[in-house]
Each structure stands twice: as C-alpha cells, then as structure tokens.
Amino acid sequence: MREDLHTFAGAYVLDALSDDDRWLFEGHLAQCQACAQEVRGMRETTVRLATAVAEPPPPGLKAAVLTRIGEVRQVAPKRSADMVRTRSRWMIWMRLRPRFVAGLATGLAAACLALAVVEGLAMDRAQRRLDQAEAANQAVAAVISAPDARTVTGTVTKSGTASVVVSRSRGQIVFASTGLLGLPPSQTYELWLMGPGRSVRPAGLLRPDGTGHMAPAIAGELRGAERVGLTIEPAAGSAQPTTAPIVVLRL
C-alpha cells in the first residue's frame, strides 16, 4: 500500500489517526503550507458538523463550570512565533526519540555532577550528545517533512505494523513500526534495503521498547533501493539476511 502524507489531512482533522500517523502528519504539516490551509478549511467544516448536533447542556453545568474556572489558573500568553516553531520541533523530537531524551537527561545530570570535578571534559561530552541527538532529530524531521515525502505501510508477520517514509528528493528513508514482538537478547531486528536487482544492503539494527514501539530512525540512503525488508537476526546483526523477511515494503 502506498500513500501520500497529504491524504492524512481528513483523518487528522477527524482525530482518527493513530498516534504514529498523527506525529508523522504533524511533522509534515509544520512544513507544508498547502496542507495547513487544507486543515484549516476542514476544521471550519467540522464546526458545522458539530453545530448541527447541538443540544442544550444539563442545567447544572453552567454553575459548575463557572465555579471551576474560579479555581483554575490560566496559562501565560504565547511567546513569539519563533518560540512556537522551536517548541513544535522540540515536541516532534520528544515524540521521535523518547528513549534518547531519557538518555540525554541522564547524560546531562551526570555532566552536572561531574562539573565540580572535571568541568570542561563533562560539558564537552554532554554537548556532543546534544549535538548528536539534534542532528538525528533534524535528519528524521527533514525526511518526513520533505515535499515529496510518502509513506508506505505494511503489516508485519505475526504482530505489528511497519511504515517507511520515503523522500526521493533527499534520497533517504525513515523507518518506524509499532506492535512488534519483543525479542530475546540473542536476537535483533535488522533492516534491509533491497534492489536495484538482487542486491541487498544492511540498513541498521533495531530493537523495540517494551511496548513493541520503535522510534523512527533514518534507515539509510535510498541509492536505487526498491524495497525495504525486516528480518530477525542474531544480536550482532548479519551482513546478509539469514531468515525470511517478516515484512517487505515496496518503495
């Protein structure tokens, strides 16, 4: 199945997308003026759908709400548009790399502790990790928000769903999945780029978290690849697939 990210707009406005698809689309939305425009028009349309089913609320509601707002502090006004953009990029990153963020936080905490002892060295290391995380985030965001980004989704044998976002203009793909089975420590998921012809290139080792979720990651350079495959391999990974693919996505 091959889909264009633009087609997510309707399901997005109707709150019908899965969490993964939603962040994919929101990443795209931040960069796509036409999509933002379309979403705006659709939102106004759903207002009309809502008005058409209006019905009087229970009589006690108004008093309850008015009492409640007397107890709830309002959030501070918004900052400049620049800040908003930074925040939304940050949000995308938070969604993309939850574990990396946790690792980063640990890293920073460690850096702070070490600060008193070897200030320069620790800060340097924390900064490097920050730079790496930022670079990974930007690379993923760049692919999913590319104008020609398209998503291919497939069902994984036994359990789960896998998606790749392909941008031919950037020559890169991003791989994401949910619901994959956990693996014993002796095994790993390995991603493959297949084609042109019969060539198969390893594209990275992947390990889902406890819930079977894998953060989206750059799965390498496209370079004429026609399909993406996923196999289960020994923990160290293999140079060529040793088992049958559990999903193959045609790019």
């Binding site: 199945m1 889909e3 087609t7 997510f8 707009a9 309707g10 399901a11 406005v13 109707l14 709150d15 019908a16 997308l17 899965s18 933002a36 425009q37 379309e38 705006r40 028009g41 659709m42 939102r43 106004e44 349309t45 759903t46 207002v47 009309r48 759908l49 809502a50 008005t51 058409a52 089913v53 209006a54 019905e55 009087p56 609320p57 229970p58 509601l61 108004k62 309850a64 709400v65 008015l66 409640r68 707002i69 007397g70 709830v72 502090r73 309002q74 959030v75 501070a76 006004p77 918004k78 989704t153």
Partner: protein, 205 residues
C-alpha cells in the same frame, strides 16, 4: 411603511444565509481574546455561545449523559485555561474550541473502549443526525438542514467515513473494519468527504 418592510425582509434573509455558526464568528474571536485576559464575564457569554454545541458533539461521541457532562465541563475549563494559546491566524475561535472538544471526547471513548460488538453496532446509529431530542432553544433548522443536505451529497463511503470518525469517535482503523474497506481507502474518503462538505457548505478558507 410597506416599502420599508419590503426592504427589511431581504436584508434579514441575507443575514440568515450567513447565519448558523458564523453568526458570531468575529465576536467569538474577540470574546476568546477577553477570556485570555481573565475576563470571567466574557467567559460566561462564551459559555452561552458554545456550550450547546460542545455538549451536543460530546454527547454524540461519548453517548453516556453523565460522562458527556463531565467531558463538556473539562473542555470548557480547558478553554478558560488555554485561551491565551488561541491564535486567530490559524483558524476561528469556534474551530479551536471544537477541535479541543472533539479530541477530549475521542480520548474519553478510546481510553474506555471495550470494543464490544454491541458498541460497534451502535456506531452506525450514532452516525446519524438526530431529528428530535433537540430543543427549540438551540435549534437552527436551516443550518441543520443544510448540513444534512450536504452530507447527503457525499458518496456513501465518504459520508460513513466522515460521520463514523467525527460523530462516532472511531479511529480510521476501526472505520476501515466497520466498512470492510482498506485503511488507505478510508483515509482518502475522509479527506475527499470533508473537502466536498466544505465546498457544499461554503466554508470560508
């Protein structure tokens, strides 16, 4: 005298034709702006404008009256709390509020979803706009008719995809299962359906 009345008639009608929810759109944006500055009187007026629409939608999605009331209250308090985050450049106040409301309602049903088959069957019922059970107080028959007519102008698959998701609170995956069509098809029907509705309803873009 009679000439005056004659002139007044069409004028009233033309304001009717832009009636419905848009009636108060510029006012709503301003009201929400005042709410953002902590104006409780403005919030009370905003309540009068939106509470019935929020409750009606939440009720359609959540169905249980007590839970619907709870969610409606949460939404209204959230509107108060987050009012400063409303950005008129990104859409109308009403769209902002109803987006909040729909998300809350959907979150409520998804988190509580037992996905029993009886619930799935009721989903089809929930996709219809009720003819009755709406008091005259909030009824805007023309608007209601227009929405009904425009929904009627969609293909069946478009209409079902849009209403099962919006009124039924179903995910696109659930909609695909309910309608026995592929996921990708549901996504495109939702988009096509909303675009066609938008054009039929003459929604400003």
């Amino acid at each position: 005298m009679s000439r005056d009345t004659g002139r007044a008639e069409p004028a009233r009608r033309s304001s009717w034709s832009q009636a419905g929810p848009q009636r108060s759109v510029p006012g709503m944006d301003m009201l929400l702006g005042r709410v953002a500055r902590g104006d409780e009187a403005a919030f009370e007026r905003l309540y009068e404008e939106v509470a019935a629409t929020i409750y009606g939608l939440v009720r359609r999605v959540v169905r249980d009256p007590a839970q619907s009331e709870e969610v409606t209250q949460e939404v209204l308090v959230e509107v108060w709390r987050m009012a400063s985050r409303f950005d008129p450049a990104r859409g109308s106040a009403m769209a902002w509020i109803m987006t909040l409301a729909h998300r809350r309602a959907v979150d409520r049903v998804r988190s509580a979803q037992v996905a029993s088959s009886s619930e799935q069957r009721s989903a089809h019922r929930s996709a219809e706009i009720p003819h009755d059970e709406v008091s005259a107080q909030v009824e805007d028959r023309m608007e209601r008719e227009r929405v009904r007519r425009c929904l009627g102008g969609l293909t069946e698959l478009q209409r079902e995809s849009v209403t099962l998701a919006y009124y039924g609170g179903h995910s696109h995956r659930q909609v695909a299962n309910l309608l026995s069509v592929p996921l990708g098809t549901v996504k495109t029907r939702m988009r096509d359906g909303l675009i066609r509705l938008r054009d039929c309803l003459g929604v400003e873009r």
